[in-house]
Symmetry: C2
Subunit: 334 residues, 2 copies
DNA sequence: AAGGACAATGCAAACGATTGCACAAGAACT
DNA sequence: AGTTCTTGTGCAATCGTTTGCATTGTCCTT
């Protein structure tokens, strides 16, 4: 293995000079710089990352904490983080935490142990104040979900207005009885989407009744979407449109509706959220609010890496645009 | 930060002794061992990973190379790898390579740079002989896909027999005209599933004609599944059953069939492969061959870690069981 | 012309662990 | 009793970089 000393010898300078050339630190004459670079190339020298990390107490590694990387929404975000951090010459270490506090803490402790330089949290439930202990010492970014009561940087979309806009759209189609499928999880987005839904109804002078609000379990999955939809649609005076806070829930709702003999969108309009790939494989293709998953991840990674690299400060809030995609599951009021 | 020397001082021994106690190397008396352990606990000493890695030229990190982590099949495998390697105190670094040779090489070069100790390749196309150059020097495992011409350890299922069994099942249902949707990609599994399909037909004395074989693009996606199915079903003398080499292709086929006015399974039986979550959200729920994605990942990670840890040798071949799941998309010949 | 400022470089000490070698003390053998 | 083995421990070198400080030479200022 060729070391910095070999290069130094070849270039007739000291190891420190080589180091300074390679790190762009200190003042080195153009002439020497050239000589060193030539020597580096000639010997095919590559700095030993292990030694460098050790000396600098840095690893060029970032942590990605996700409840579950199997979820297509998260896997897209993670993809964005991985790709960008790779381009910045950072490694990314993905960790499934299943939202368990102990697991999250254990993973974040890697920061203390110098196994990683910073972290991106994909989904923090609200009220986890202890996260600040880490964020005070290390750069941490919350991506997608975040806690507004914590002074930690986050990258997200405007869930409130996305919900408002969606429900307005349903209202514009003539719907008067609009239901929603929410969730019992503790994410901010869930609250904001519910609030947006209610405000949009209110703004249009429509009643917002508990009868039209159904909560899927915190696991958010297909089955719970089916059940939640059933509760709403079994009522004699049922909604004619459903705003679901995730696509998977929407798929469950579509399924339940079909089983109950309702045609979509003729009898019932359904809209989802996220725009995971499967929504367009479904029949009917589901109208949804697209989140820029990949970009959310990229942006978070970019902010984090730049902070680590040049100590550039991370803005407290970064909001990316959402986009409503009208497909086949919504139509005028029956 | 408390170092090994602090512990040594506290325990009135030398740093080497502390090191030996912690690494279980050399011979240390029970008495000293206890003293050291007490000192470690008292000071809350944690070995500096960076220094240790540097000295040992190891990182306790494994590389995961995937064409695309967004694919639900891979994300499940990756999940298995991540979870198991975390339990073994290894970090895992996921990298999207989009099957590009240059990207794969660049990632594997991290092994040379001591940024990782071993690697798991999720999907290698056949004929990439240069991979052996890496495998000769570092532990590498191919998971799911592999090249039989390379002497590299792999963890997989028996794709050939899975295909045979599936087609036999369709034959048992009375089908005589059975088509398949394959792909133009260069994966071994694709070849084996096609071969299994043909052999099963042959074994039953049924003709296997090119008219009934359609190839989706190498991207494997929903759209290409739709197109491939259309080619098969547009024929006047069309198949009554389709064996698709992936669930996503099967979903495309279902969709196309519906559009063409065919009822499933009354007019056409369709079976997929993989058992990704969405198959059961689809109407009808799709009959498929389940691969133990998560376990495949776990197994590969376990073998790799154990090899790194205790130099335990990795068997050339590890085959995990598949399982056919009959759901709603298959029925007797119309 | 003297002094100061500055640019360019080298020396050597870190960083925190691991490990080959040496050595002491006691045990076991002849 | 003398030799050899074994066991337990410490010393000091080492891994490959980075970096604080010292040094040299050059140029500018007054």
């Amino acid at each position: 293995m060729v070391t910095i000393n070999d290069v130094a010898k070849e270039a007739n300078v000291s190891a420190s000079t080589v180091s300074r050339v390679l790190n762009n630190t200190g003042t080195i004459s153009q002439l020497t710089t050239n000589t060193v670079i030539r020597a580096v190339k000639k010997l095919g020298y590559e700095p030993n990352v292990l030694a460098r990390n050790f000396r600098k107490k840095r690893t060029r590694t970032i942590l990605i904490l996700t409840p579950n990387m199997t979820n297509p929404f998260y896997s897209n975000v993670i993809s964005g983080i991985c790709d960008l951090s790779r381009d910045m010459n950072y490694s990314s270490f993905v960790c499934n935490t299943t939202d368990e506090t102990e697991q999250i803490k254990k993973t974040l402790d890697m920061l203390y142990k110098h196994k990683a330089d910073g972290a991106i949290l994909l989904a923090s439930e609200k009220g986890q104040f202890w996260i600040s202990d880490y964020a005070d010492e290390f750069p941490i970014i919350q991506c997608c979900e975040y806690d507004p009561d914590l002074e930690i940087s986050h990258v997200s979309i405007d869930n409130y207005h996305a919900a408002v806009e969606t429900v307005r759209y349903l209202i514009a189609l003539g719907h008067k009885k609009i239901g929603t499928i929410s969730s019992t999880n503790k994410y901010l987005s869930t609250d904001n989407r519910l609030k947006g839904y209610k405000d949009a109804l209110h703004e249009a002078g429509l009643e917002s009744t508990d009868r039209f609000v159904s909560f899927a379990g915190k696991d958010y999955n297909y089955q719970s979407g089916c059940r939640a939809a059933e509760k709403l649609l079994a009522q004699s005076d049922r909604p004619t449109a459903l705003f679901c806070i995730s696509d998977v829930l929407a798929m469950g709702a579509v399924n339940t509706a079909k089983i109950m003999g309702l045609r979509i969108p003729e009898d019932l309009s359904i809209v989802g959220f996220d725009d995971v790939e499967q929504t367009s494989m479904f029949t009917p293709k589901i109208t949804t609010v697209a989140q820029p998953c990949y970009s959310l991840g990229q942006k978070a990674a970019e902010l984090l890496c730049k902070n680590l690299e040049q100590n550039e400060s991370i803005p407290l809030e970064t909001i990316l645009p959402y986009r409503m995609i009208v497909r086949e599951s919504t139509g005028p009021r029956p």
